[in-house]
């Protein structure tokens, strides 16, 4: 296949406070083997040579696990491929002459820092509210002292595979963080190690999620559909049960 020429409509915003706008760029000689981010690299190389500011976009591992990359591509967080982060989306999924709209995650809880990069520290604060078992280093018993059913362990791993990218928030029509929060609550609720603090954890993490200004969950399940790790909204149902238990029984 011959190289492609693409038109990109990219959100540019100088910093947190400035208003942003879309700017249109043309990128030529895009190989079908490039990843989407490599195509963005090519654009930035062009901009540097022209003496213009590069387009900021978060990225790091480029193998779909660090959760740093984002981008809403033609209305879909991480692009149209299911179970794929932007860094593993390849240009062969696009056609010569395509117009591609590239936007940042949009949520009040994820303010834009510059262009396409957003501040996702709200997730860290939710984790700090209870996404752990309260144990210090040194006191742990032998690892095989607690047998755990393989099924529970596997299901916990499904939830634990969350990469914290925030696509769930970006895709949710309400900008809800339920899938992210549920993944951690569910992981620890499924394992014996998480039992001692399970009610406290559910109450505090949900409270922090609300405090951060995320929207409510209206069960659109878009989050599951865009999640690079395909985490199921079943975990959201479990989070709710955990929360009700906390409400009914206290800590």
């Amino acid at each position: 296949m011959a190289d492609m020429t693409l038109t990109l409509k990219i959100w540019r915003q100088k910093d947190r406070k400035s208003p942003g706008k879309f700017v249109t760029y043309t990128v030529e000689n895009v190989s079908e083997h490039m990843s989407f981010l490599e195509m963005m690299d090519v654009l930035n190389e062009q901009l540097i040579k022209k003496g213009e500011d590069v387009v900021e976009f978060d990225n790091d591992c480029r193998e779909g696990i660090c959760g740093m990359c984002s981008l809403v591509i033609n209305g879909r967080p991480h692009g149209q491929e299911h179970g794929t982060a932007t860094c593993q989306l390849h240009m062969r999924k696009f056609k010569d002459g395509d117009i591609i709209v590239v936007e940042p995650w949009r949520a009040a809880a994820f303010p834009v820092l510059k262009d396409l990069a957003v501040d996702r520290t709200a997730f860290d604060r939710i984790m700090a509210a209870g996404g752990y078992t309260s144990i210090n280093v040194g006191g742990a018993q032998d690892a095989n002292a607690i047998p755990i059913a393989k099924r529970a362990s596997d299901e916990a791993m499904d939830a634990a595979s969350c990469i914290g990218c925030g696509a769930c928030v970006a895709a949710c029509p309400n900008a809800s963080a339920s899938l992210f929060v549920a993944a951690k609550i569910s992981q620890l609720a499924l394992l014996p190690q998480g039992q001692i603090e399970r009610r406290r954890r559910a109450a505090n993490m949900v409270a922090q999620m609300d405090k951060e200004g995320f929207g409510d969950c209206s069960n659109h399940a878009e989050c599951e559909a865009v999640c690079p790790k395909e985490i199921s909204i079943t975990h959201i149902a479990r989070m709710k049960r955990e929360y009700f238990k906390a409400m009914a029984l206290g800590e």
Binding site: D15, S31, H33, M34, S35, L37, E38, M39, D41, N44, E45, I48, K49, G51, E52, D53, V54, D58, N59, D60, C61, R62, E63, I65, C66, G67, E81, T84, Q88, L113, K114, A117, D119, T121, F123, D124, M127, Y132, T133, I135, V137, G139, A140, Q141, D142, A143, I146, P147, I148, A149, K150, S153, M157, A160, S161, G164, L188, L191, Q193, G194
Partner: protein, 637 residues
Amino acid sequence: MKLDSKIPEGPLAEKWDKHRFKLKLVNPANKRKYNIIVVGTGLAGASAAASLAELGYHVKNFCIQDSPRRAHSIAAQGGINAAKNYPNDGDSIWRLFYDTIKGGDYRSREANVYRLAQVSNNIIDQGVAQGIPFAREYGGLLDNRSFGGAQVSRTFYARGQTGQQLLLGAYSSLMRQVAKKQVQLITRTEMLDLILVDGKAVGITTRNLITGEIATHMADAVVIATGGYGNVYYLSTNAKNSNATAAWRCYKRGAAFANPCFTQIHPTCIPFSGDYQSKLTLMSESLRNDGRVWVPKKRGDDRAPNDIPEDERDYYLESRYPSFGNLVPRDVASRNAKDVVDDGRGVGPSKVAVYLDFADSINRLGENVIREKYGNLFDMYERIIDENPYKTPMMIYPAVHYTMGGLWVDYNLMSNIPGLFVLGEANFSDHGANRLGASALMQGLADGYFVIPYTIGDYLATNKATKVPSSHHAIEESVALVHDKMDKLLYIKGEKTSTEFHRELGKIMWEYVGMARDEAGLNKALEEIPKLRDEFWQNVRVSSDKNLMNKDLEFTGRIADFLELGELMARDALERNESCGGHFRLESQTDEGEAKRKDDEYAFVSAWEYKGEGKKPALHKEKLVFDNVELTQRSYK
């Protein structure tokens, strides 16, 4: 420079216990008076920051990403070793120690490696207690798998995402301390200099990557856990942001850099496809269990792989190494791939790849069995290359993966600069000339959870905290240095982007300081790198604003450091005229073409001391003493 490894006296198995008893303690009530800076939030950094905070120290933890959870430890796939002996197959602390020191080709310290094996079991206990969902058997107990370089199954894993799960475990402990305000988390901030007062590490100079603000942070000790320097090669399996800048700044402030030439090249990566390519993707080594490696016998054979008849294929690993075949160690597999590619028999569009063919296994076991074992890897391959590996042989090629070298540390993980500690991949300590699979995670967490909490106390207890006034000349000098470098980069306004320079540096490094090295090539590299560096400082062009988020400026600064580090790697490789582990000198091979160590001349750690701009660094040697293992030559025929 005096290098005192501080290895404790006594029998190997008792060294760590006795040493811990001798280490001075900080009274619990006094701990809160100490501030510790931890740079990096990967396995080593996050575990250290969390553990130190649990003890009561005040910790400031820095990372360049938006969250500690993004550190590149997250990308480790395979697993973590421990000497639990759960499978009852004869493992022990001694065996893990032995395998690790042998795997490192006898270029690491016995005492350090033994301690690593000792604490390995505690790491698994700690991880399980944190709620890490390790793989389990139906009976509810932990599952183990086997890994290269060992004859026992001692690797614990969580699907193909072990690094992710261990990092999220450490991250959760860290966030618990953040909630308690024991740790102050400072994200999107890059360390750009180390501040020394009276020869001791007392702080760092940083740049806020959002606002561009330059700030200084002072502490009683500085812990560096910023990972390896594989990105010197431009293309590697490292993350885009992985860099050597923090470690390199320490080197330029006087910390010795040890064994810089020891890099690990991983044989099964997805080959590069064009100049635009930004990184290489690793695929688990386990693929070699069922895939057969081959290239065409004829040079420049352009036929599709399935059109090449059986008798015109060269299964070179099977023919050269009849007993190990496709399962030779990482370095041997990598070097042989390079040989056949250099011979003009490479495959794929770039001609820099070899085939990894599953056709026989699929015939023998059925496609379903292969799908069960490797389905996710095959999917990942298809996503990137757009070819179905069930039908067409995979193309693979080696890629830079891990760096064993790093800042020199003693047994306490303190560098030669008092108060400067170095953990994880950033130090040189435990893997010698070659790291075994599933040992990186073990070392990072051992350093952070189980070594630094003890050893840092000894330093703090004997070094009274001194208040450094903010007007101290060392602080002003450091801030000025950071500003100057950035201004200089922005002032050049040349023709080439930093990525173009980085790509050129990568080519030099890969060509001359890559899988096989010789004197002529290394000398060539020592000529080319300074030339490239000079050009860089005259002709680089950086995207303009230093007071805004500016990833180009960040990267350019790091590439400037790589351009210096690359030269030191070449110098170290030239100096070490022997082959060992990941360092293969063409001049030093056995008759069979295998790596030949020269234990009489080179059983030492090379520690390089910075001597100033444009001056040759000084080499110091820390002799390695082996009282407990016998040094043998590896053979895989």
